[in-house]
């Protein structure tokens, strides 16, 4: 062969200089004994490429000839392989004439030895991608392939090549291929018949789908095409472990379904197949059949379904009546809905039978009578089937509800037990919800409207029933009825309001009362006038009423009134009525003389918070709330903090930690959703109030002394506490709102947080400082203020009376910076890690790690527009856990627990998937932590180990001995939460391989007998579950 090349080269002496490649190829002879083309193929293909792309394609037909004509088929194959690979690189540069030559050459090679075929197909694939392919060539290539190649005897890759050629031609030469008529379809059927490889099947299914979707002529081969694809249904394929191709069962199912459900021509073959598979035993086959049926209904019509409706219905009915699988039931109902929708869609010709009508009749016939037996088992499956059919279209809804609604109403009166009535009402509710789906109640036609009076009376009677469960369903039904526009008359509406007030205020059961409040809230936006005209005045009256009843009863009634006022405030016009009532009540309560009014103030604040949340989305309501509530709260608080009033009791209630903590969310929620302009307007009042004592914007602004929360002096301690309210406001502002005199404010906060003796004030100031620092734009100003903070903290941390305050400040500032990935954060975190070794501050620092990782309720979270990077926890984990582990190993015995505690806080807040991948490296440390006597460490270690037991049983089974011993020990811990967690872990142990566990079975079962008699019910419950599972280990029938 080498000689042949040389000879060939001699012919071309004249052009030698143009043939740098061939020079190289000749030098390639150095590899003696190796066929030259092979060398070229592996090493010099890129050189060939260079050559070819430089315009020497003219030689192409002649130069590889020596190899292509070799008598040894292997050699020929290699030659063609080279040519094909070259073509694959440069097909886009070929010219029409060259393509023609090549195509003819390759076509002729298809008849060659089987060893050559794979390379030939590669070449044809390259050519199939050429844009300059002359008309007619695509058809001739395909004909040649169909005729000469027995595709299914090729290897997977080569079969794939054939599919690729077909796909390429189909996307570029659609018209030509269609010229082939049904022959093309037939040819393809032969090509794919018997295909087994999932990779190829995905391509083949796509081709079939295109054949159908692009309207190729299937001719007489519809059934063959169906056969050749449907033989894979239902798909039974489990990808091998570590499959590099990543084809999932679901991919095959979906692409096959796309084929099967793509044409009505398949219907007569497909529907019997689906029914057969639906009747089979295999769950997955049932599911797949149902889903495919649903997909088919999107394109089928009466004609396709007619013949099969009875058997489809009986299969669906049987499945819903019998199955234990919720998934199958859901799919059956979806399929039934799709079928009914499909029949509703079909246009009727005047003389044909109305299939929908007879189909629905058979459903009604089979299901309706079960509704009369609310105790029996078929009642719910029947109701669900009817509801599924009714949910298909307005027509089906009318047909079914026309028959079912009167029946249910009649049954409700017939049955007197609450539980039976509840079942009936729940079914009725399902039909009412469907009416909701179809929108307005139409004037004349709606079956619901004709039963308006009985429906209302049934629902109202449920509300009066002593059974809470029935009441709850009644309330739900009321909500649905109210949402049907025009269904409830105005007299009925007043009745509804009366019922809701009664349930909300006077019903003993809190569930019903809460549900009634929710219902009021969801109906109020639809009927704002009725609710503000009837409900709000009644609630106000009840709230103000002084009664003779016991204190406890009055108190709980007031609570209910406050909750109801908040719940009903779901429309701006109602908010404008309720907020003044709530504020008035707040003023009254805080002035009151009773000692126990702290709780009352908190309740009002909770109601205000709820209102604030409900009007956040509505710009007008939000601004009204902010404008009304924030100044009022601030004024009351400032009034209470005036020096002389702190001596009297009522003034103090507003300054208590719990009360301030309850006011924070109100102000925060009222501020977070303000538009930037309005927020700027508000901030220009609030910040001067705290910095300059400018009280002019407060509603009652004549105070006996000035307001100086940042001033010096013992008597100002009360005023300093109000920094909490400043924090609530200023830390919730949108990020783009500029804060006036921010530098000054930050300095004051810093000073306060380091100097205050009151822990609440110091912590609040630190949080406020952190909240502002987190949102502060990066730059020199920020660096300066941070430097100032570090300078303030360091000496206080080292020694002195205010170490705890300094630590709190450090923690909050670190959190603010960790959240936004600020470069200084790592330096501050290192400082914290160092403090873990401190005997005095160590435990507090360890707890601080939970503060760093957890979502804080009032500042530094997304809701108040803080700068929170999404992966900050993972990042903190990767940066700091190795340091924690090192610190643990280097630490003295008295502070080791601090490191463990810090570590377990970090691990606890990490997302579970990350935890499972990272934990094995930390496992030995965690096992050691189980022996730690600190219960926080125990608890968080157990909660780290729990997911690991479930998700990484192999790794965990190496430590089974330690785990069993430690878990069993902890089941007798004095802390209930630890006992529960230990029992859960003991339960989770059963997911380890049975062989590993069996030696421990007896011991564990004996040990778990003790917590069975624990004095806490929750512990006993866990013990029962765990012990039951251990009994089943290695036992038959598990």
């Amino acid at each position: 062969m080498v000689l042949e090349l040389s000879a060939h080269m001699q012919h071309r002496q004249g052009e030698r200089s143009l043939f740098p490649l061939c020079q190289q190829v000749r030098r390639g002879q150095a590899h003696r004994g190796t066929p030259l083309w092979f060398c070229a193929c592996s090493g010099c293909a890129s050189c060939l490429m260079y050559l070819l792309t430089r315009g020497f394609l003219g030689f192409l037909p002649s130069w590889p000839r020596f190899s292509l004509e070799n008598t040894d088929p292997r050699m020929r194959g290699r030659g063609i392989q080279l040519l094909s690979q070259v073509l694959l690189q440069c097909y886009s540069l070929l010219q029409e004439k060259e393509v023609l030559h090549l195509v003819l050459f390759y076509e002729s090679r298809l008849q060659d030895n089987h060893l050559v075929i794979p390379s030939v197909l590669q070449g044809l694939r390259a050519l199939s991608m050429c844009e300059v392919l002359s008309p007619g060539l695509a058809v001739s290539v395909l004909k040649a392939i169909f005729q000469e190649v027995h595709v299914q005897s090729l290897l997977q890759l080569d079969r794939h090549t054939v599919y690729s050629i077909i796909t390429n031609f189909m996307s570029t030469r659609e018209e030509e291929l269609k010229g082939l008529g049904a022959n093309f379809t037939f040819g393809f059927i032969q090509v794919m018949d018997g295909e087994k490889d999932p990779r190829n099947l995905l391509v083949a299914f796509q081709i079939v789908h295109d054949l159908i979707a692009k309207d190729y002529d299937l001719g007489p081969f519809v059934e063959e095409l169906f056969e050749v694809t449907s033989c894979y249904f239902p798909v039974d394929f489990t990808p091998p472990p570590n499959d590099p191709h990543g084809i999932q069962r679901e991919d095959l199912i979906l692409s096959l379904r796309a084929v099967l459900a793509s044409t009505t021509q398949f219907a007569e073959f497909l529907l019997p197949l689906l029914i057969e598979k639906l009747d089979s035993e295999l769950q997955s086959a049932k599911l797949d059949s149902l889903q495919t049926l649903t997909a088919c209904c999107a394109i089928y019509g009466q004609k396709e379904l007619q013949e099969f409706l009875p058997s489809l219905w009986s299969s669906l009915r049987r499945e819903v009546f019998q199955t234990a699988s919720e998934k199958i039931e859901t799919e059956c109902l979806t399929a039934l809905r799709a079928l009914s929708a499909c029949l509703s869609r079909s246009v009727l010709s005047s003389d044909s039978e109305d299939l929908l009508d007879s189909f629905l009749s058979s459903i009604l016939q089979d299901c309706r009578h079960h509704l009369c037996e609310p105790d029996m088992k078929l009642v719910w499956p029947s109701a669900k089937l009817l509801q599924a059919a009714a949910g298909a279209s307005l027509r089906t809804y009318h047909r079914i509800s026309h028959s079912v609604l009167p029946l249910l109403l009649e049954q409700y009166t017939k049955h007197t037990q609450s539980s039976q009535r509840r079942t009936i009402l729940e079914m009725l509710l399902g039909f009412l919800e469907l009416q909701q789906k179809w929108g307005h109640v139409e004037e004349d036609e709606s079956p619901l409207l004709s039963h308006q009076a009985p429906v209302c009376s049934v629902v109202f009677s449920a509300l009066l029933d002593p059974s809470v469960q029935l009441q709850l369903v009644g309330i739900k039904a009321l909500t649905v009825l109210g949402s049907l526009q025009g269904f409830l008359s105005s007299s009925n509406l007043e009745l509804v309001v009366d019922h809701l007030i009664r349930l909300a205020l006077h019903e003993e059961d809190s569930q019903s009362s809460e549900a009634a409040m929710e219902a009021a809230g969801s109906l109020a936006p639809t009927y704002p006038k009725v609710f503000s005209g009837h409900m709000v005045p009644r609630l106000e009256e009840e709230l103000q009423l002084e009664r003779e009843e016991s204190h406890h009863k009055r108190h709980s009634l007031q609570q209910r009134c406050l909750q109801a006022l908040a719940a009903v405030s779901t429309h701006t016009s109602i908010v404008k009525d309720t907020v003044p009532i709530l504020l008035q009540h707040l003023q009254k309560v805080q002035k009151g003389t009773e000692a126990k009014n702290t709780q009352d103030v908190i309740s009002v604040c909770q109601s205000l918070h709820r209102v604030a949340l409900q009007c956040q989305q509505d710009a007008e309501g939000c601004w009204y709330f902010h404008q009304t509530v924030v100044p009022c709260l601030l004024a009351m608080a400032v009034q209470a903090a005036m020096p002389e009033s702190t001596h009297t009791l009522p003034g103090k209630a507003l300054l208590e930690e719990e009360v301030l903590a309850a006011m924070i969310p109100v102000i925060s929620a009222a501020t977070a959703h303000l538009s930037p302009e309005l927020a700027a307007q508000s901030v220009s009042h609030v910040v001067p109030l705290f910095l300059d004592g400018d009280v002019s914007f407060l509603p009652q602004n004549s105070f006996p002394c000035s307001f100086q929360p940042f001033g010096d002096g013992e008597h100002l301690e009360a005023q300093r506490r109000l920094v909490a309210l400043l924090m609530a406001f200023v830390c919730s502002l949108p990020r783009d709102v500029a804060i006036p005199q921010q530098e000054w404010l930050l300095r004051e906060l810093l000073a306060l947080s380091c100097s205050s003796n009151c822990p609440f004030t110091a912590t609040t100031a630190a949080k406020c400082f952190a909240g502002l620092v987190n949102k502060h734009p990066a730059g020199q100003q920020l660096d300066e203020i941070l430097q100032l903070a570090v300078n303030r903290m360091e000496p206080s941390l080292a020694e002195g009376p205010r170490r705890t305050q300094a630590l709190t400040l450090l923690l909050w500032v670190t959190k603010a910076l960790v959240l936004r990935y600020h470069p200084l954060s790592s330096c501050l975190t290192d400082k914290l890690l160092g403090l873990l070794g401190d005997t005095e501050l160590g435990p507090a620092t360890a707890d601080g790690f939970s503060l760093l990782m957890a979502e804080s309720p009032d500042v530094l979270h997304k809701g108040c527009h803080a700068d929170v990077r999404i992966m900050f926890r993972q990042r903190f984990f990767t940066d700091n856990v190795p340091k924690l582990v090192r610190g643990f190993h280097g630490a003295g015995p008295d502070v080791k627990a601090n490191y463990l505690k810090g570590l377990s806080h970090v691990l606890n807040h990490l997302p579970k998937p990350v935890l499972v991948t990272e934990l094995p490296t930390l496992l030995s440390l965690l096992l050691e932590a189980l022996s730690c006597s600190d219960r926080v460490v125990q608890l968080s270690t157990l909660s780290c180990l729990h997911p690991l037991l479930l998700e990484a049983p192999q790794i965990m089974s190496l430590h089974v001995d330690t785990l069993v011993t430690k878990f069993l020990n902890l089941t007798s811990s004095p802390t209930m939460a630890v006992r529960i967690a230990a029992l859960r872990c003991a339960h989770a142990l059963t997911s380890l391989p049975t062989t590993v566990l069996l030696p421990y079975k007896g011991r564990v079962i004996r040990a778990l007998a003790k917590p069975l008699d624990d004095k806490k019910r929750l512990v006993r419950k866990e013990a029962v579950a765990a012990r039951g599972e251990w009994f089943l280990l290695g036992s038959p029938g598990r």
């Binding site: 199955t323 419950k1021 039951g1028 599972e1029 089943l1032 038959p1036």
Partner: protein, 146 residues
């Protein structure tokens, strides 16, 4: 309320349902008087069998538990198995100090007396659980996996 599934054809034979996973059966003390209305489906060829076990009588101080159950029909062939399953579940879930009494509601089963006697006999219960086929069926009834 809607969980109820009725007797199925042969197709339902492989199904399992958690037996006695009602709160009353797994609670082991305190308010143990809650009514136990549970439905039991057995992995037997007959499909599912509904059983109502009523008001277990619990006396914590005396350490006794008594459960009455009612088979669906007087000739239910599964009555012994149901009773055995209830008994085993209680044995596994209650502290050892409790004395158990599982019996059929008087007048609801043809061979009520014989079944009760079998269930009360400790040795016969122990022997039954040695039978691996029987143990398998009982375990299937008690398995939390469905």
């Amino acid at each position: 309320p809607q969980g109820g599934r009725a007797s199925g054809g042969p197709g339902s034979a492989r199904r399992r349902s958690p037996l006695l996973h009602s709160p009353a059966a797994s609670a082991t003390g305190g308010e143990r008087r809650a009514s136990l209305n549970t439905e039991l489906k057995l992995p037997c060829g007959l499909g599912a069998v509904a059983v109502t076990a009523v008001s277990p009588q619990v006396d914590d101080a005396q350490s006794t538990v008594s459960v009455e159950f009612t088979p669906t029909i007087p000739h239910c062939s599964m009555a012994t198995l149901i009773g055995l399953s209830i008994k085993v579940k209680l044995l596994r879930s209650l502290p050892e100090r409790f004395k158990l009494d599982v019996h059929i509601t008087p007048g609801t089963h043809a061979s009520e007396h014989a079944v009760n006697k079998q269930l009360a006999d400790k040795e016969r219960v122990a022997a039954a659980l040695e039978n691996s086929h029987l143990l398998e069926v009982v375990n299937q009834c008690l398995s939390a996996r469905s």
